[in-house]
């Protein structure tokens, strides 16, 4: 099989397209494991995307420093958005669903991200710095594994480390076990001396930071430019991914690459002029329809608890009600 075969190309670019989904879903997973549902992922991703892009077009030093700063700025921007949600749902105990929707409207395609993009004149410019494959091209040309494993940029490899880190954190460390306790039974965690409010705030903010990085993956690696609404619903797919992954980080990776590959399929079929019926319609819709389909499959059993949903997900914690 040549490296140009459609299967290899779709897998390799599926990993690239799946990376923002992976970052965002790992972030959402952390927030949800602490019991906070944040439907504002799309908005947080877009603000991260625009601020990361702004950074690379503002700073003029070497590539590595600028890109590291951009990722930092994107993370801070995403976390700042998450802070609004955290204050409303943790401190004020507002409805997590409506607050998350509000965050998407506030920060999303017609809101703050578009405002910043216009105000900072970011549209129609290519990125001054972008993530590029880090391995030498001789390795990228190796058969099959070349494009898939060695043709990726630093964000992809960092996301693999992150999957392991999140897994290790949640299953092997004391604070990680505490998070799970907070998400399953905050009253019990509270009586064990765990600060529920603090854990929830920190993990919601971490979720926002990762969503911001996921958004920046779009503007700094996949399509290095700023277009309003560039994420195209990726934030929502990331929320669905956490459900498919049964709240487990390693399965987030599998799911993210599956959906990444579906997204990679449409441009690839068009580039090869393969027409299968109304191609532009069904290939564009495929990731969204697949999300619905897989969501139906996993909700079939009805027993979400058994699948790993945190028992206190979406429920505000009121100490006085204990």
């Amino acid at each position: 099989m040549s490296n140009n075969a459609i299967l290899i190309v779709v897998i390799a670019s599926g990993i690239a397209y799946g990376t923002p989904l992976l970052y965002a879903s790992l972030g959402e997973l952390l927030a949800e494991r602490s019991g906070v549902l944040n439907l504002g992922v799309e908005g947080m991703m877009l603000v991260g995307a625009v601020m990361g892009f702004w950074t690379v077009n503002r700073l003029h030093t070497n590539d590595g420093l600028v890109l590291a700063a951009a990722i930092g700025v994107a993370a801070v921007a995403g976390a700042a958005m998450a802070l609004i949600h955290a204050f409303l749902v943790i401190t004020l105990r507002a409805s997590q669903i409506v607050s998350g929707l509000a965050l998407t409207i506030f920060a999303g395609a017609a809101g703050l991200s578009s405002y910043l993009g216009n105000d900072l004149n970011l549209a129609d410019n290519p990125a001054n710095h972008q993530f590029k494959p880090i391995f030498p091209s001789s390795m990228q040309n190796w058969k099959i594994v070349g494009p898939i494993l060695f043709g990726q940029d630093a964000l992809v490899y960092a996301s693999w480390v992150l999957v392991i880190a999140v897994w290790f954190y949640l299953s092997r460390t004391r604070p990680g076990l505490n998070v799970r306790a907070v998400g399953e039974s905050p009253a019990t965690a509270d009586s064990m001396g765990i600060d529920v409010t603090r854990y929830r705030y920190l993990h919601t903010l971490a979720g926002g930071a990762l969503a911001g990085i996921g958004g920046a993956t779009f503007t700094l690696a996949i399509t290095p430019q700023w277009v309003s609404g560039i994420t195209g619903g990726a934030g929502w797919i990331a929320i669905a991914l956490v459900i498919f992954a049964f709240w487990r980080p390693e399965l987030c990776l599998v799911g993210a690459y599956f959906f990444g590959a579906l997204q990679a399929l449409a441009p690839e079929l068009q580039a090869r002029q393969i027409n299968l019926g109304p191609t532009s319609l069904w290939t564009n819709s495929l990731p969204y329809l697949a999300t619905v389909f897989v969501l139906v499959l996993v909700s079939q059993s009805g027993a979400r608890r058994r699948l790993g949903a945190p028992a206190a997900l979406g429920v505000p914690y009121v100490r006085e009600d204990r």
Binding site: L39, I84, L88, T91, L92, R93, A94, S95, I97, V98, S99, L101, A102, L103, T104, I105, F106, A107, G108, A109, A110, G111, L112, S113, S114, Y115, L116, G117, N118, D119, S228, G232, G233, W236, I237, I239, A240, I243, P278, S280, L281, N284, S285, Y288, L289, T291, V292, L295, V296, S299, Q300, G302, E320
Partner: protein, 379 residues
């Protein structure tokens, strides 16, 4: 800071919260404007001018307010039952696809105008209801989260809308004539499928579209349905306490299916009104109807109106003004995206305000217990 439940919810707060939310949003968005180097004073002067004060502005505002009234009512109908249908966007598109088909076909048969309009309304409602029934059925029979499924279908509906005119020689596309061979356009519906408006001699003549009246009528029907019928009562119980509804023997599944279909139908009529009142053809341009985000803004409208149908229509007018100002004003004083920022802030403030309605906030540590309610006033 401590938050305590209120035993009594003062009535004045129910009005104060939405009003306060809008005012707080103006202040907070003003801070955003200041922080990004704009002058909030002149931005707001332009906003109110473009939305409500300048000549012909109310007519323009009604063009945005009419679809928002429908999507707001659609969201309110579902959210009241804690069914989070955020697919109003897609249901509106499907309503306009079906409404345009009815206008083209039945209008082409030469039927009289009222019959064609009725057919378009019914077709739009059916299109929206059918699209909303997909998440409805999935929720009722497979317990699939309707938030994500209804949202995913918005994207699919958007692609479908664009596809019908830009990528296929469909029934909706103008397939003959010189212009059609240069750039894909939609067929215009025949004149008997144009919805009439009511001229109002103010600001130099305001055209109130038929859709605005239909939206008010829909609000009345929805209010009657939720406050005066058994169906509405059961839907409320189901929303507030699914377990109580189960023990009382209410049919959960049917209620979910019906509420989602009703919600979708309302958004769908909004889509038909887009064709009949304004565009007179299927607006499939990815930068046209799809950039207005009426479905998502409808959620803000519904929440600001606290899901009360009449308040929702009123809020649609208010938010419609904001939307209209965003469309007309683009420039240094009024950056695009500001409207979405303000809508988001309004929704945040409404949410924070809800907390004030239900709870009281005390500062300081020790709080005296709330005085018990005297029996006479409690009754």
């Amino acid at each position: 800071m401590r938050i305590e439940r209120r035993l009594r919810q003062p009535r004045w707060l129910l009005f104060a919260v939405p009003v306060g939310s809008v005012l707080a949003a103006l202040v907070l968005a003003g801070i955003v404007l200041l922080a990004t180097g704009h002058n909030p004073g002149s931005a707001y002067r332009k906003l109110f001018d473009a939305a409500f004060l300048s000549s012909g502005s109310i007519g323009q505002t009604l063009i945005s307010a009419t679809p928002l009234a429908f999507t707001g009512l659609a969201a309110a109908a579902a959210f009241r039952m804690r069914l989070f249908n955020i697919g109003g966007e897609g249901q509106l598109y499907l309503g306009s696809i079906a409404g345009a088909a009815a206008g083209l076909y039945i209008g082409g048969l030469g039927w009289s105008q009222p019959l064609v309009i009725a057919a378009m309304v019914i077709a739009g409602a059916a299109g929206g209801a059918a699209w909303a029934s997909i998440p409805g059925v999935l929720r009722a029979f497979f317990k699939t989260n309707e938030i994500i499924t209804s949202l995913m279908l918005n994207y699919v509906a958007g692609y479908l809308l664009t596809y019908l005119v830009f990528n296929a020689h469909s029934y909706w596309r103008q397939n003959s004539g010189f212009d059609a061979s240069v750039f894909p356009t939609s067929k215009t519906v025949p004149p008997n499928a144009f919805w009439p408006g009511w001229q109002w001699a103010m600001q130099g003549g305001i055209l109130v579209p038929l859709g605005a009246f239909l939206a008010i009528a829909t609000a009345v029907v929805l209010w009657l349905l939720y406050t005066r019928t058994r169906f509405g009562f059961e839907a409320q119980v189901l929303g507030d306490s699914p377990r109580a509804a189960l023990y009382a023997g209410m049919r959960t599944r049917r209620k979910i299916l019906a509420v989602m279909a009703i919600s979708g139908a309302i958004a769908g009529i909004g889509g038909a009104s887009q064709v009949g009142d304004f565009a007179h053809q299927l607006d499939a341009d990815p930068n046209g109807l799809q950039k207005q985000f009426y479905g998502y803004t409808g959620i803000v409208v519904a929440a600001l109106g606290r899901y009360n149908p009449f308040a929702v229509v009123l809020c649609a007018f208010l938010i419609g003004g904001l939307q209209n100002a965003g469309n007309t004003l683009q420039g240094a004083d009024f950056p695009s995206g500001l409207v979405g920022v303000m809508q988001g802030i309004i929704l945040f403030c409404v949410l924070g305000g809800e907390v004030l309605v239900r709870n009281r906030i005390r500062f300081g540590r020790a709080a005296a217990p709330e005085a018990p309610i005297p029996l006479e006033t409690a009754a």
